[in-house]
């Protein structure tokens, strides 16, 4: 993985302490933050609270994994928050036995539904389909990703509102809810899903040809084309990947809340992009890792949780998150210019 962070091994002659520090800065910052919160509020370190933090983070984390692929290719996806609402509703409706009976409640209604496996599959398929459409607009119509996904953000939210027809779709069977509320031992199921997704994504980016190609396309699209890569197909693929993660995320979120609604996932895209960027992925493409994204996303989760435990108002929380995003990128730029000069 280190190979592709773009931060090559320092020369043996001058061990670059600053460079090393820069590479692990998000991790170091996360640990410092946790230590501070632990001192301020001992409850912070209880396993219950930590797993709680992780469970809150896991939805963001799923989206952030997809977002890492997208940003690595110099793209952006603003539509994930809306897409998570739409796919959650699709999953919920399938679990309820279809569009007509989506508001039915009670054990009879649960029995009449199509069950969670189909619900999950439907959510993922819809997510991938939406990602495919956006990828098509980006590669074939040559509309910039920012604009396409800004459109998607509005369109998918509208579709979700239309689909929901006013109210939330609530009340699922136990099998469905387990994906959001269940535990394996002490570990919440969403955390496991996040961890598995992160490992798969890491393997794909690190060990497959496709992963190499993603870095190459983001690093220098023209060089990638002249090396024989199908840049359009690779670009399209990353939007399908993030669509898949949004589908999975929408399903898990609805299971955790035992409810799907059209206003779910509002502003998620901003938190997710913040996590990816704080984790060291460059918005200019070609540089970044899944490891960084996991750390960056956890950092935001820990920060929010710690601030809540210390009774910091949610307004102030937003200000702090905003400042940290800017500082993280400023630090990254500074570290890079230092490396260039070295």
């Amino acid at each position: 993985m280190l190979e592709q962070t773009g931060q090559g091994a320092p020369k043996a002659s001058d061990l670059d302490l600053f460079g090393l520090l820069a590479r692990f800065a998000p991790l170091i910052f996360l640990l410092v933050l946790m230590a501070v919160f632990a001192i301020l509020e001992p409850r912070f370190l209880s396993p219950l609270n930590l797993f709680n933090v992780m469970r809150q983070v896991s939805i963001f984390g799923l989206l952030a994994i997809g977002m890492t692929f997208v940003i690595l290719t110099r793209g952006i996806d603003l539509s994930v928050g809306s897409l998570i609402a739409l796919t959650g509703l699709v999953a919920a409706a399938v679990a309820k036995g279809g569009f007509e009976s989506r508001f039915a409640v009670g054990t009879a209604a649960e029995a009449a539904g199509y069950g969670w496996p189909l619900a999950l599959a439907a959510a993922i398929l819809v997510g991938m389909g939406c990602g495919f459409l956006q990828g098509l607009a980006i590669t074939k119509l040559k509309v910039p990703p920012f604009v396409v996904t800004l459109g998607g953000m509005s369109a998918f939210r509208g579709a979700a509102l239309l689909f929901a027809g006013g109210g939330p779709v609530s009340g699922f069977d136990e099998g469905y809810r387990w994906w959001g509320q269940g535990y394996v031992g002490q570990v919440p199921v969403p955390v496991i899903i996040f961890a598995v997704a992160a490992i798969v994504a890491w393997v794909v980016l690190r060990y497959t040809r496709f992963g190499r190609n993603v870095y190459a396309v983001g690093g220098n699209p023209e060089a990638a084309r002249l090396s024989g890569l199908n840049v359009d197909r690779i670009t399209l693929s990353v939007y399908v990947i993030i669509g898949c993660m949004a589908g999975l995320g929408g399903f898990v979120l609805s299971a955790r809340l035992n409810s799907a609604e059209a206003v779910a996932g509002m502003t998620y895209e901003l938190t997710v992009i913040a996590g990816v960027v704080i984790g060291g992925t460059s918005l200019f493409g070609g540089v970044g890792t899944i490891f960084g994204t996991v750390i960056g996303t956890m950092l935001i989760g820990v920060l929010l949780n710690g601030l809540v435990l210390n009774n910091v108002s949610s307004y102030v929380q937003q200000i702090i998150i905003g400042v940290i995003i800017v500082l993280a990128v400023a630090f990254d730029t500074f570290a890079k210019s230092r490396r260039k000069r070295a």
Binding site: E3, G6, G8, R209, N213, Y215, L226, S227
Partner: protein, 529 residues
């Protein structure tokens, strides 16, 4: 010409006439390891059009940068109208009336003609931009030199020739005394060139001095009053254009037998044609407005043969390489490798057919600078190293990278360092290794040794010889004629998108090639296939 018509007028030294507009004496400038300009004198009179000539690397660009105030000279004196000056910055040079128009225009495409002409100096009224005056004055300036240019048009909508007019209008708006034009005609069509030359004459009539840098000697002959030739950083001489022939000029520019700096391979066996190009016409890179159009190019390169492609800036060498490689759309024509037609819709098709391209601009077009050497080297050959499930066989990859590191003598701390940290020569070897790893049948190298040191250059040449020896057909492009002559078995010359000559190495002299590149009959030349 330097002794103007104003001798005897009050205030000038008796016997010397009026001082020239510009006089540079004993200019020296060195960069680490190179003496770029070595004691050059350069004088331009009032209302004189002066050609500055020389091969690539002769020191023209350095002299121009000094004149533009972009770089201070190490030694020497610059006088403007008899007054010794120091040019602190490009802005300072402009304020003194010296304006340089570069090949790459300094225009803002999203603004109008008037806004560009007055950028940074917009006329104000009550603190707000006085649009009426800006338009009026822009029109006045353009009419002065016989231009018809609507001040309200967006620069992005203008042709290359019109954008150049805007640059000239910009220069006039700051009441320039001396306008330096670097290769002003290289991106223009024939009719546009005629217009530009007319504008130059109008400027001359108004007493403005012009430094005209061009490779096209016929234009120099038609337009300029005097010329100065540089070679290897030194002044070869100045002359009145009327007194010298084009052959004389070429001799001054080349001035020496080809340095046999590098050893040519002793014997070579040339086989069957591997690459064959028939009737290729193309528009060039759609994103590059100054791309040269290709007209009906046909050529062939045999197995084991190195064919050099020579031409001046804008001759279409790079465009030809990119068209053969499927990098730019073509209009018509056919490319085949070993008799099999190549799918030219994308580089992937050309690579599939066994063609590799080492592009002109290593950093922009070939390398992933922030990524590891290993990824850079193996990216094109990964197909061979990938299992059914898409996993890269990293052991095999490491073996491959090690092999090419050894064979090409690539110096690096480890295959995992960023390729951006390597020297230019080692970077170029990584790009070459990328294609060798694919075992190509045809290799096109565009400026294979640009910006790399002499030792690495010799290594790259040696490598190309070995590859030819191994049966690869090589098409080599270089701006350095001596490099072309060193490498090639046969040399093709280009001018304005057409092939103008096909010269076996035994008959190639720099004079002959320069002639074909600058004067070569623009009509089609039969090239044996």
């Amino acid at each position: 010409m330097t002794d103007g018509a104003s001798f005897g007028s009050a205030g000038t030294m008796p016997g010397s006439g009026a001082p020239p507009l510009l006089r540079m004496t004993g200019i020296k400038k060195s960069f680490p390891g190179v003496l770029a300009v070595d004691g050059v004198d350069f004088t331009v009179g009032v209302g004189e059009i002066h050609a500055l000539l020389g091969e690539n690397g002769a020191g023209k660009s350095t002299l121009l940068k000094i004149l533009a105030g972009a770089q201070p000279p190490d030694e020497g004196r610059i006088e403007l109208s008899g007054e010794t000056i120091e040019l602190e910055s490009p802005l300072d040079a402009q304020a003194r009336g010296i304006v340089t128009i570069y090949q790459e225009f300094n225009l803002i495409p999203t603004l109008t003609v008037a806004e560009n002409v007055f950028i940074g100096r917009e006329p104000l009224r009550w603190g707000l931009v006085d649009w009426a005056r800006m338009r009026r004055e822009t029109r006045g300036i353009t009419e002065r030199v016989g231009l018809d240019l609507n001040p309200d048009r967006l620069v992005a909508d203008l042709s290359v020739a019109e954008q150049q007019m805007v640059e000239i209008a910009k220069a006039l708006a700051v009441s320039s005394k001396l306008i330096v034009m670097d290769e002003p005609t290289s991106a223009l069509a024939e009719s546009e060139v005629a217009r530009l030359l007319q504008i130059c004459r109008d400027l001359q009539a108004q007493g403005i001095g012009i430094v005209f840098v061009s490779h096209r000697l016929d234009e120099v002959k038609a337009l300029c009053d005097r010329l100065t030739v540089l070679r290897d950083g030194k002044l070869v001489g100045s002359a009145d254009v009327a007194d010298v022939s084009i052959d004389d000029i070429i001799k001054m520019m080349v001035g020496r037998e080809v340095d046999r700096l590098f050893q040519r391979r002793a014997t070579h066996r040339i086989g069957e044609p591997a690459l064959r190009v028939e009737g290729l016409s193309a528009e060039g890179d759609p994103r590059d407005p100054s791309a040269t159009r290709l007209y009906d190019v046909s050529l062939s390169v045999a197995r084991g043969e190195i064919v050099g492609l020579a031409g001046l800036v804008g001759a279409g060498r790079t465009e030809l390489a990119r068209a053969i490689f499927g990098a730019d759309p073509i209009i018509r024509g056919r490319v085949s490798v070993d008799g099999q037609a190549v799918d030219l819709r994308s580089p992937a098709g050309a690579i599939e057919a066994g063609i590799g391209l080492v592009p002109e601009d290593r950093k922009q077009q070939a390398l992933f600078l922030a990524l590891a050497v290993r990824l850079n080297l193996s990216i094109a050959a990964l197909g061979k190293l990938t299992s059914r499930f898409g996993f890269v066989d990293e052991q095999a990859e490491t073996v491959m990278v090690d092999e090419y590191q050894r064979r090409l003598n690539i110096k690096m701390a480890s295959p995992l360092v960023e390729v951006g940290n390597l020297s230019g020569g080692n970077q170029q070897k990584v790009v070459l290794a990328r294609w060798l790893a694919l075992q190509p049948k045809v290799l096109i190298v565009d400026e294979p040794t640009r910006g790399i040191d002499v030792a690495a250059k010799a290594e790259v040449h040696q490598l190309l010889f070995e590859l030819a020896e191994a049966g690869i057909a090589i098409l080599a492009i270089s701006s350095e004629l001596s490099e072309i002559v060193t490498l090639s078995d046969r040399i093709l010359t280009m001018r304005e998108g057409r092939l103008t000559g096909d010269v076996p190495i035994e008959e190639a002299s720099e004079e002959r090639l320069m002639q074909l590149m600058t004067m070569g009959a623009p009509d089609r030349v039969r090239v044996h296939a």
